[in-house]
Structures are given as structure tokens and as C-alpha cells.
Assembly symmetry: C2
Homo-oligomer: 237 residues x 2
């Protein structure tokens, strides 16, 4: 099979499709303004994301049973509220802040690129975000997915092979009929190792200014595109 | 909670959203014409659908492990090819006929109604059809789903409670925040028994002329609508 046989594009979402960092900072600033908190929200956003991989590692290792990302985010948030001395939020307010991940904004090219790609390909999420998070984010940002798949449906977090393979299987496709689209070389390496095709779309501002990781392709991925509109053009959409 | 708290509509699909019988007849007639088969395709469609519940019963009972609907359809089809003396099809042609279920046409009001409903609600499939079948059908008919959930994701066929409850859980909702939309009283009874709200939309031509089952609501469902456009109006969309 060649790249011409690809029938579905499977997407990493946090960082690749949406700008999580700016969105979390914006939500934090709005909360801080309404409540009178003086918090470095960029540090807060980075700290929250910093707890992401360790939290999933507990599940990946089997040390704890399947736990969806909303719940891992909430546990991390509770720790950070203490660290950043954010006090006096009601349970509903903490929940609203936790669900900031459901309201992340797309990168400026995401919707236009996806809309073009969707005419030719099945578009599915292959994210560690849970289904409700992805569905609400798609409503918020107008992301035109054909299917919400990935970690919660597979009950395995990336980069575990089951996450990629279950997604391909549920789409009724062989792994090589799916192309993983991600801004992270590690995600593409894991997808490639179980047979998926790969497209790298760098997001050099994902981590703010001065980002050094994932600014360039680490290997010769099947496609390298500058953004989603460029990806659509390269894939003939 | 009241009907005002409903956040997602979960849909039965075969018969409720799409007209499986006319679509299968049409696909059969096209095949028959190209191959010179003389087959009563209405009988063929009814016989294929007739094997649907017994095939799922094998899975529901635990007598066989989880098997997706595409595979059950294929096994039933192999039996019917013999019964209807349909000979000489290649494996690819049998597969194409089996995937007629991926190409079912929506009822005339389905897309217009769903498009209106989607502005207010999350719309998810809660069908016994597998994910690929539902994704391809949505592409074929332009069905604007927010999420493809149901039996394959839950690994339980309706009317087993897990099918409804896993769908609600993956949407991040309580059962009573979901409203099951179906043309089948039995489906609504099962959904209601585990807490979902209910909307009955009769499809009196699902089984062709002279249909007697499911032409009227068997109970006082939360909503009864004449079609999906009427459902949108009744739900204030």
C-alpha cells in the first residue's frame, strides 16, 4: 500500500489542532480578573500540562485502572490550586476551570484545513482526551470530525499501540490506510511503529516563545506540512 | 431533572434515521440488473434484516465473543446467497453488497431535522451498527453527528443496559441528560429503564406497506413527533 491508499486521517488534538496554552492562559486570566487573583497564568498552564504525562503514566503502567483525562486533569488541578494559592473557588467553579480543556481554541488554520481534508478523507480524533472533552471542544471550535475515537474508546493512552490500532480497527481500516497527523515526533514514531502513515505539522508556538522541541521533523515522515491548509494542498484536497 | 436538562440526543439509526429497506432493495436491484439475477429483493431485504436479532442474540447471550455488526451481516448474507440462489459473485462483490448497509439513505426529513437539532444538542448515534458502518453512512447521507457511539464502543448490543449507559458516560452526561430518539418502542423502553429520556418518531413505512408494529407510541414517551423536523420544533430548535 502507498500513501494513495490512505482513507482516514487520525489527529492528535492538544497542540496539533488546538492551542491549549493560550486558551488555558485566557481562561485563567478571565477567572483571575473576576476573582481578584494575581497568578502567573502562563506558569499555571505549563504546570498543569506538566502533570499530564505523569498522570497518564499511572494508568499506562497499570498502577491504576482506566481513568479518563477529565478526571486526571481535575486531580492535577486540585494540586495546582494549592501550589498557586488559588483559594475560595466553589466546586462548580473548579469544575468550570477544569473544563477549560473542553473550550480550547483551534489554531487559525485548523478549521479551514480540516474542512478541505474532510471532502476526501474520514477525519477522526486520536487524542488522549476523553470523548466528552473532544465532543465539547468540537462544538466550541467548529471542528468537523467524522468520528471521536482515541484513548477513551481504546482504554489505552498514547503512545501505547492499542490506542492507534483500536482506532484504525473501529474505522474498519488497516493501520496503513490511516495517517496520523501530529505536531509531535514521538506520537508519529509510535503510530508509525504499528503501521500508520504519518504527517508532521509543526506548531512552534505550542509551548510559547523559545520552544525547542518538535520544531522540526525528527525523521522522514510521509508528509511534512506547515499547517493544515498546506496539508490539504499536499494531500490533493 | 426535567426534559429541559437534556443535553444530548442519542439516536437509533436503522429505521429511525435511514430507510434501510428501500436502500437494500435498490442496491439489490442494481446488482441483479448488472448480473442478470432474478431475485425478489424486497423478500431478500426482509430476510437479511430477519437474521439481525438472532445474530446479535448469540453475542448478547455470551455464546460468542464480541462480534461487530459488519461481520454478523456478512455471515447472514452468505446464508442468503445460498437461499436465494445468487451465484458467481466474487469476494469483492459480496463485500460490496454487505457494505450496502454503509450506504443507506436517510429519510427525507432526517438531515434537515438533525441540522436544526444540532444547534442546541449534542447528537450521537446509539445504534447497533459498528463505528465504520456509521461513519461511512454519515458520509454517504450527510448526517451531521457530533459523535459515533453505541454498541461497538460499549461492546454490548441494545437493548442491553450497558449500551445506553456507556454512551451517556462517554458523553460525560447522566442518563437523564440524554434523550433516546427511536422509531421502536422496545428501544425506548430499554433506554427509559436505565434513565434516559425518550422521543418516539414513528416510521410507518420502515417495513414497507401494511406495517403494523411500532406505528404508534406504546407508552407516554417524553416526546412524540411525526418526523425529525417536527421533533426539532417540539424541542424548541
Amino acid at each position: 500500500m502507498t500513501i494513495m491508499d490512505v482513507k482516514a486521517l487520525t489527529f492528535d488534538v492538544f497542540g496539533t489542532v488546538v492551542d491549549w496554552r493560550s486558551s488555558i492562559i485566557r481562561e485563567g486570566q478571565a477567572l483571575g480578573k473576576s476573582k481578584g487573583f494575581a497568578v502567573d497564568w502562563a506558569k499555571f498552564a505549563d504546570a498543569w500540562r506538566g502533570l499530564y504525562q505523569p498522570a497518564m503514566d499511572e494508568v499506562r503502567s497499570g498502577r491504576r485502572p482506566w481513568t479518563k483525562l477529565d478526571d486526571l486533569h481535575r486531580e492535577s488541578l486540585e494540586k495546582l490550586l494549592g501550589q498557586f494559592a488559588i483559594k475560595g473557588l466553589s466546586d462548580g467553579e473548579v469544575d468550570h476551570l477544569n473544563r477549560a480543556w473542553h473550550r480550547l481554541d483551534p489554531w487559525p488554520d485548523s478549521v479551514a484545513g480540516l474542512t478541505r481534508l474532510r471532502k476526501k478523507y474520514v477525519l477522526a480524533t486520536l487524542s488522549n482526551g476523553n470523548v466528552a472533552l473532544m465532543v465539547n471542544m468540537a462544538k466550541h471550535g467548529g471542528l468537523p470530525w467524522d468520528a471521536i475515537l482515541g484513548a477513551e474508546v481504546a482504554r489505552h493512552y498514547k503512545p501505547q499501540p492499542e490506542c492507534y490500532l483500536t482506532t484504525a480497527s473501529m474505522l474498519g481500516l488497516q493501520p496503513e490506510e490511516c495517517m496520523m497527523v501530529a505536531a509531535h515526533n514521538g506520537d508519529l514514531a509510535a503510530a508509525s511503529s504499528v503501521g500508520l502513515r504519518t504527517a508532521f505539522v509543526p506548531r512552534p508556538a505550542e509551548h510559547g516563545t523559545g520552544q525547542t522541541r518538535d520544531v522540526k521533523p525528527a525523521r522522514e515522515w510521509d508528509v511534512v506540512a506547515s499547517d493544515f491548509v498546506d496539508l490539504a494542498a499536499r494531500l490533493g484536497c
